[in-house]
């Protein structure tokens, strides 16, 4: 294994570099996945039937709470990668733990919101609008949930093995995934919630 020490550890071997590139291709496919869900939502958004519309359902406080949680977590994981490149393991792990706590906060608010919706009589079966809404939000939420488990394992492994070309590569790829979830949320925030409340 050839290690190029002029590059950050996570890029230091050819295999590492290619893994990062490969993950970008996966994210390209994820963009396509979410595009189909957004397209479905935009087509069905008027199909509220006897159920509530987005305007009646969406609330600003929970929306802002979720957005702040996810935006901040995207910032802290960026700081985690920065600390990793400085070789500061303790700082990197702290930033990753903060990131996951913020992610958990986001998920908590989202679940609370879903429960509220159902109490108001807005279930996934109520209308075409709600089916597409829950599918879009739920797919994003499922990605965040997976990320929480993934991130936990990254933290445990880094703690056990320290910074190696393998562990730093995995941590960096996880950070790409996490930032991507924030990007998707920005579009949900803008074109589902804000547009729905306008």
């Amino acid at each position: 294994m050839k290690i190029d020490s002029s590059l950050p550890l996570e890029y230091s071997t050819e295999e590492n570099r290619l893994k990062i590139f490969g993950f970008w291709i996966f994210l390209g496919a994820e963009i396509a996945l979410f595009a189909t869900l957004f397209a479905t939502y935009f087509v069905l958004v008027e199909g509220t039937g006897n159920g509530p519309s987005g305007e009646e359902l969406f609330k600003v406080p929970t929306l802002m709470l979720q957005t702040i949680f996810l935006l901040t977590s995207s910032f802290t994981i960026g700081l985690g990668i920065n600390a990793m490149r400085l070789g500061k393991q303790k700082a990197m792990l702290s930033f990753f733990v903060i990131t996951l706590i913020l992610g958990l906060g986001f998920l908590g608010v989202e679940i609370y919101e879903f429960v509220e919706y159902v109490h108001e009589g807005a279930t996934i079966q109520t209308s075409a609008f709600l089916s597409s809404l829950f599918t879009l939000l739920g797919t994003h939420g499922a990605h965040v949930t997976l990320g929480l488990f993934w991130g936990t394992f990254i933290i445990l492994q880094t703690k056990k093995r320290g910074f190696t070309p393998e562990t730093t590569n995995k941590a960096f790829i996880f950070s790409l995934y996490w930032h991507f979830l924030d990007v998707v949320w920005i579009f949900i925030f803008s074109f589902v919630y804000l547009k729905g409340m306008m």
Partner: protein, 94 residues
Amino acid sequence: MKELFPRGQVMGFAFSLVLTLVALSVIVFDLSLKMGVIVLLVTAFMQAALQLVMFMHAGESEDKASIYTNVYYGLFVALVTIFGTMLTMIWGYQ
């Protein structure tokens, strides 16, 4: 401590919070639907670009050209999917 909070990333985070507030303004001020959507499009794509360049380090390795090609291709597929669906399912009937 200072090196743990690089200026660029802190500024990027501050900027993303500002963009969020600007986006929020579409429901605070009574904008027309068209105007509001334009504001949202600008803020959302600026946010996405900020994440990509500032936080995901899209341009730092020798794969820069391939990574950007891949992202643009993904974006192209997304836009064709969304606008193509709108055209065939909604706009085409109006």
